[in-house]
Symmetry: C2
Subunit: 433 residues, 2 copies
């Protein structure tokens, strides 16, 4: 990847109106899948308050000389993800040219209503078929905090943690998009004082603020992806809320790891922000001690300076018109293990990664108060509840609570690149309780 | 489900020759996906030494009044799996009628070469797209043995084990079919005496003898599958070899469970044996103490009396013409947690199961010597190597070793129902070691 490129130049302007501070200036151009006006799902690119309809772009022949039209006329991003970086770059340059004030005039001179849909009128979908979903555990502060809470009598950080990016497979069937309600799950849980477990609705429903990367072409069985090739296989990033039922998780997770405490829902933001768009915010990550083993080393910077925020609005706040309150603000930049290391590690044994796979970072937590990415950390297992407007408190989530995750990149000399948001509201369980 | 049905009657005979003791009499009729003569993948049903070509059956109109032809003219079983039990039963009855000596004569009177392929000439494939793959841990003997080996200083069986079927998500992208070579994986491993881990090829490569069930229609998000509805959602069973790199697993698995120690390959047998075919071998499972919680209870018998065998042939044995030797024989009938409980538990939190999902049982081990489903148990972590013909010994697998898993059901008054086999040969790693 080269940086800065024409398409990330902060001076670029689109002929389409883009408000100052928008998450989606012409330097961003994230990909998603949308429906509008009862049509079948289509690939779209966010620009300002609009969605650029890629199906129509291909239909009009505007990408003919840079991209197979079929890649843009699919109901999911998987074919485009499979096409690889050279194709992604050519397409990005074309989109940028078609949208910029001094670029290719064909789109600008055409009937814009054919090609543009208001973002407010578009229904967004999970933009790819996710073959496998992996969740890492790559924040040292989060791993330390959870070790202290779940295993108070042992070392908080296990011996393997600084040597490899610990991770596990999650359930891909329950990956849902921004706005999908989350039904409070039932499951087995056991109070520390009770002799036996019981079955019922989770009482310790939590969030996990994460970032996730979506993969491109992928590898063949038995052929690992080297660190040096990671950028060929990582298309872009999304926000992830790895909803977690702490009571179910605590009872079930030994010795084979999280299962039903996590598998009821994982929410992602609808727009995949590409590595190209994030290039101006790519930085060196934290020092790793001990030095990683050879297969996890790289001379390239692989951290991204992404600011992240968690907001909460309770049913009562919504009823009285009180805006969501920020309950955490943190950054992705300090994650101990980076995306390239995660991909190299996950394939080191020859395991196959396919186009559209999702690899989430694990909860992103800082060390200062108010910078943790989960309620279990922010409230220290519920012992120090959050104080909310109108006198409410929260240890864990209650029915009707809505969580919004936000993420964006900003620095002097670059245009803001945003991820939009991923929201989810907790619904009461139906049927047996 | 009703039993015994016309299609399981032991007196049924096909007009096609089926050898005595065949795994695939007319009472079986397992489904798979095959290619032959350079054609695209097709759905097939095994009968004796033949594969019945379901694409051609549908093309000829032989199923028109019982089944949408598209369900049989797909390259994967997923559409048929989605169609549900009523459809499966109608199709099974039709296939049985077309194949039996006293049944529907249309197939028998047609040109058989159009409809039949010799099994020896068919290349088998993973018959379904697996959305999510879950692996349980449901043999009490196996869980006890591994607890003793991995956690010698703690209780072998953790407190949750008798209350819920412990399980985790595996990697669906590396599910491979019978005969696919298994490349020895690389990974991090740490000798107990070494201060640091190192990266290299696994030295403790193992098998896990398992059964897996393949799901049908599945549920909607937030709506669990009750025990009473399990048979609507379980299509059939396959043999599973959950290859395991014990050194990688031991170093990585805490606290989030198995990851790269398992994700390099999972082999399945090519023929899915339906629940209908297994009905004569359905029995009461072992007593569960304590009594399971309400959502895991059923008045129906949910164990299956399946005999299982593991065979090993080393490269030297192959070279000298020595047949594979049996290294384990055990049974599926004693598994503590059954398939219906596994499905009810996995969806108890509302998680979605899709057509084609695979749920494996976990290693199947008995308590008597020689009845364990993994080398780590059979050799007690390599301390008591297996003695093989020609003076060889094995603690774990060496390059060139080929493992074959076999499974079948037999009892007086019923025809043998077999699973065929799942084989895998260990290849040396390529590239960096």
């Amino acid at each position: 990847m080269t940086a800065p490129s024409d398409t990330t130049d902060a001076r670029l302007e689109s002929w389409l109106p883009v408000a100052a501070g928008s998450d989606f200036p012409i330097q961003n151009l994230p990909f998603g899948v949308f429906t509008s006006e009862g049509r079948l799902p289509r690939i779209g690119v966010a620009i300002g308050e609009s969605v650029l309809d890629c199906f129509e772009l291909a239909e009009a022949g505007f990408v003919d000389d840079c991209c197979e039209p079929e890649l843009l006329q699919a109901p999911l991003l998987n074919p485009l993800l499979a096409a690889g970086r050279e194709q992604w770059t050519a397409l990005r340059e074309r989109l940028s040219s078609l949208l910029r004030a001094d670029g290719d005039r064909r789109l600008r001179d055409a009937n814009p209503s054919r090609f543009l849909v208001a973002r407010a009128d578009a229904t967004m979908h999970v933009p790819m078929e996710v073959g496998d979903y992996v969740d890492f555990y790559s924040s040292i502060e989060h791993a330390t905090n959870l070790g202290r809470i779940f295993r108070p009598d042992a070392d908080a950080l296990l011996p393997n943690w600084r040597w490899l990016p610990v991770g596990y497979h999650g359930r891909s069937s329950t990956i849902v998009v921004d706005g999908t309600p989350v039904r409070r799950p039932c499951g087995q849980r056991k109070l520390p004082t009770a002799p036996n477990p019981e079955f019922g609705t989770s009482r310790r429903l939590d969030i996990e603020l994460e970032m996730g990367f979506v993969t491109g072409p992928g590898n063949r069985l038995g052929e690992p992806i080297a660190m040096a090739d990671a950028s060929e296989h990582i298309f872009g990033l999304v926000l992830v809320n790895d909803w977690s039922a702490r009571d179910i998780q605590a009872w079930e997770y030994q010795p084979l790891g999280p299962f039903l405490g996590k598998s009821f829902a994982t929410s992602i933001s609808p727009w995949i922000v590409t590595l190209e768009a994030l290039e101006p915010f790519r930085i060196e990550g934290p020092l790793q001690e001990p030095q990683p083993l050879e297969y996890l080393r790289s001379g390239d910077p692989w951290a991204y300076a992404i600011t992240l925020e968690v907001r909460l609005q309770t049913a009562r706040m919504r009823g009285s018109g009180t805006a969501p309150v920020r309950i955490s603000q943190t950054t992705f930049r300090d994650m101990y293990w980076n995306v390239a290391q995660q991909l190299a590690h996950a394939t080191a044994n020859g395991a196959v990664t396919r186009p559209g796979d999702l690899f989430a970072s694990g909860t992103i937590s800082g060390s200062a108060p108010g910078t943790q990415g989960s309620l279990i950390e922010l409230t220290w297992n519920g012992e120090h509840p959050l104080q909310l407007p109108e006198g409410e408190t929260r240890g864990f989530l209650e029915d009707g609570d809505e969580i919004t995750l936000l993420g964006w990149c900003e620095r002097p000399g670059a245009r803001r690149i945003g991820f939009g948001s991923v929201r989810g509201r907790i619904e009461a369980p139906q049927g047996r309780v």
